[in-house]
């Protein structure tokens, strides 16, 4: 039995899947407990929260698609008849966007262009050399004379895309209305009327409008990306749209896996310090004060440099570029986690200090419940809201931090697509004549949308889970050009 593909599980893939499983488990658990569901109902009722969640879920969809990795099978070896697989690791997104990945031009070309961005010397029909813009190998290659046919062709593509978008959108609208109607046990038409008047608890109208706008923009892009380079091509002729899509996973992984890494440290140490007090508290406080006194970027830089030395002196550990890049991404998440767990740990310590004096904890103590059990059963469930708020608020900061770190040279592997590597490559292109703006613009738009919706969603979650957690306590764990967070010496 031979398979045409072999699934590959990279380190970060495994962690992403673990994270998805954890979230699903958490959702299932909360769904059974009314008091835990309450705050999330509030999130579902906030318009900005639901709109940003819609945008975010599109990003997450792309990121998840890009997480299923596999290797393609090669024709089997004649002598041994053994299965062999191609060395490059692809993802489900690569499979879907195969045309985008394969159609590589020679160098820069503008969005929707049929010609290259710079003139080249070519030989004319009669053999005389002339300088002109050469036609692209793939972008607009189906056109006879681009000057006349290009705009009508693009318009046709846009119309096709919009028609597709309309179909998808109506389908989504019907499903959502149907589900809402079925759950409220009402008629479809009634529910639909309520929905469009904005009379429902959950702002489905806003969600559907957002979805419609997104589809109207995205579907024509997808349709046209089969014929043109919709965001142009970069220096080595790669399609910028493809690069942007690939960057999404990197940003999402950094924003989420980092949290997964830091969470065990922050939770156990923070609660232990606050509940056990004494020398345990002193030791943990010393640990996090020391770590947080080192400027974050410098600690990350030092650690990444050290890892680079290790990777360069032990090349045999990593058998492919993808694995190497993936290991580096994982390491970056770990080190970002190490620099960012201190903030959450401090918050949890303060909260545990407060909680341990409350009656229900003292009652548990009086009944002879052991300290570990009290921490797990009575303290932990009561600090979960702080954890969630910190995670959600930290996400956007981490995505932004990745860009800076890649610029500094201690970010993701140069072989890995990310917003940081895109910006880094694109900033020199702004100085070219004529200017190359599309890579930077694409990175800007996608990153802005991702971070903005993450910020808005985080605000909605914070308002719902704990309106009293002040902005001062729950500020992002990592910031770009200054560090705050000096509240260490004044434990609550």
């Amino acid at each position: 039995m031979t398979f045409p593909i072999k699934p590959v599980l990279l380190w970060t893939d495994a962690l992403v899947f673990a994270l998805v499983a954890a979230i699903l488990l958490f959702v299932w658990y909360m769904n059974r407990h009314e008091h835990l569901r309450m705050p999330w109902r509030k999130v579902a009722r906030s318009t900005s929260g639901m709109v940003s969640a819609t945008v975010l879920s599109l990003f997450i969809l792309v990121g998840l698609l890009d997480t299923f990795h596999y290797q393609k099978a090669l024709p089997p070896d004649k002598q041994t008849a053994e299965m062999r697989y191609a060395s490059d690791v692809l993802s489900a997104l690569d499979a879907i966007a195969e045309p985008l990945r394969m159609r590589q031009e020679r160098t820069f070309s503008a969005p929707f262009s049929a010609y290259a961005h710079a003139k080249e010397t070519m030989s004319g029909a009669d053999g005389t050399p002339r300088r002109d813009y050469p036609r692209l190998k793939f972008g607009g290659a189906h056109l006879e004379s681009p000057a006349a046919e290009r705009l009508p062709d693009i318009a046709r593509g846009v119309l096709q895309g919009v028609a597709l978008a309309a179909m998808l959108w109506m389908f989504a609208t019907a499903i959502i209305t149907g589900v809402v109607a079925a759950r409220a046990d009402r008629r479809f038409a009634e529910t639909s009327g309520d929905l469009w008047r904005g009379d429902l608890d959950v702002p489905w109208r806003a969600v559907l409008i957002t979805l419609g706008l997104l589809l109207i923009v995205v579907m024509p892009l997808i349709v046209l990306s089969g014929r043109y380079h919709v965001f142009g091509t970069d220096k080595v002729g790669q399609d910028v749209f493809y690069l942007t899509l690939k960057s999404i996973r990197t940003g999402l992984v950094i924003g989420t896996v980092t949290t997964l890494v830091m969470l065990p440290f922050a939770l156990t140490l923070g609660i232990m310090a606050g509940y056990l007090r004494g020398w345990v508290d002193d030791a943990i406080q010393y640990l996090y004060t020391t770590l947080s006194s080192i400027p974050g970027v410098l600690l990350i830089a030092a650690a990444v440099l050290m890892m680079q030395v290790y990777m360069d002196t032990h090349p045999e550990t990593f058998d492919s570029v993808t694995r190497r890049a993936d290991f580096r991404l994982l390491f970056l998440c770990v080190i970002l986690g190490v620099t960012s767990w201190t903030g959450l740990c401090r918050l949890l310590r303060g909260e545990a200090l407060k909680l341990r004096e409350l009656e229900y904890v003292q009652a548990a103590q009086a009944f002879g419940v052991g300290p570990w059990r009290i921490m797990a059963r009575h303290i932990l469930p009561n600090v979960v809201h702080i954890v969630i708020i910190t995670i959600v608020l930290g996400f956007s900061g981490l995505v932004l931090a990745e860009a800076v770190l890649s610029y500094v040279g201690v970010g993701v592997d140069p072989a890995m697509n990310s917003f940081g590597t895109m910006i880094n490559a694109a900033r020199l292109e702004m100085a070219r004549e004529p200017i190359v703006w599309w890579s930077l613009a694409a990175a800007f738009v996608f990153m802005f949308l991702l971070v903005l919706s993450a910020n808005l969603f985080a605000d909605a979650v914070r308002d719902a889970l704990d309106p009293r957690v002040s902005a001062q306590l729950a500020r992002p764990v990592f910031r770009w050009h200054r560090q705050r967070g000096a509240s260490s010496r004044h434990p609550a």
Partner: protein, 326 residues
Amino acid sequence: MLRYLVRRVLYAIPILIGVNVLTFALFFVVNTPDDMARMQLGVKRVTPEAIERWKQERGYDKPLLVNAAATGAARITDTIFWNNSLRLFAFDFGKAESDGRDIGHEIATRMGPSLAIALPVFLVGLAAYVTFALLMALFRATYLDFSGVVLCVAAMSISGMFYIIGGQFLVSKLWNLAPISGFAGGLSAWRFMVLPVAVGLVAGFGESSRWYRTIFLEEINRDYVRTARAKGLSEGRVLVHHVLRNALIPILTGVVVVIPSLFLGSLVMESFFGIPGLGSYTIDAINSQDFAVVRSMVFLGSLLYIVGLILTDISYTIVDPRIRFE
């Protein structure tokens, strides 16, 4: 007060030792000096003699912690830990690995340009953001306030690097108003400072303004504010004289701690604008994998941060007479 300060300073020493040991472990134990030499000299085709020479030139051929070959105090002092880690406490940073220049001297000369950019950004920014946040608080729960918040959230969702690239493109390339990068000493420096300072101000606007606004809104519901209003004071006077003054404590918590770190400058800004400050020094060191410089900067950064924490404590007693340290 004095006794409290002495205790705070003493408390900082174990933290600095911790930082020192941590960096030592990171730079010398995780990877041996041999690894670093191979890295600097090129991983392939490097002779053992070249590695030995590289290590000897930099004093990395000594034992890590205890020198068994030496006698007396030299058993401890003639080691890598003593020479390259503990000496940092005496601000003896040693020499850079890449070009052999004295790091202490470089730091001293590069502090000026860093400060020339960071200080105006800090001072003007503080005033501007607080003013903007006060205005938002004044017009709270109106469309003005709402659009202000939207502006802040949008502004903080843009990576700082886009502000720099955009600023350089618009101001320098399109409008030709300021040099795109570079720096000059003396009075003519202002021409090079305008753009970085402006970009720094814009980049920090969203997050800081929103944060100050939240602090003000927390204060604004307190009883003393209601009393002030009941006395018939104007809203502006209430905000400036009562809310602002009482909001100073949370503001100071975030602001004072960064003052000493202003010396370090900003990594990204300085390298984009070609400012010969400590930020670009660090970036260059990271790119040329000059571990001696990175090590020194880690130590210096931690030291300045701890100084910032102590300054924060002192500033509390100034703004709030109720706070007394025993």
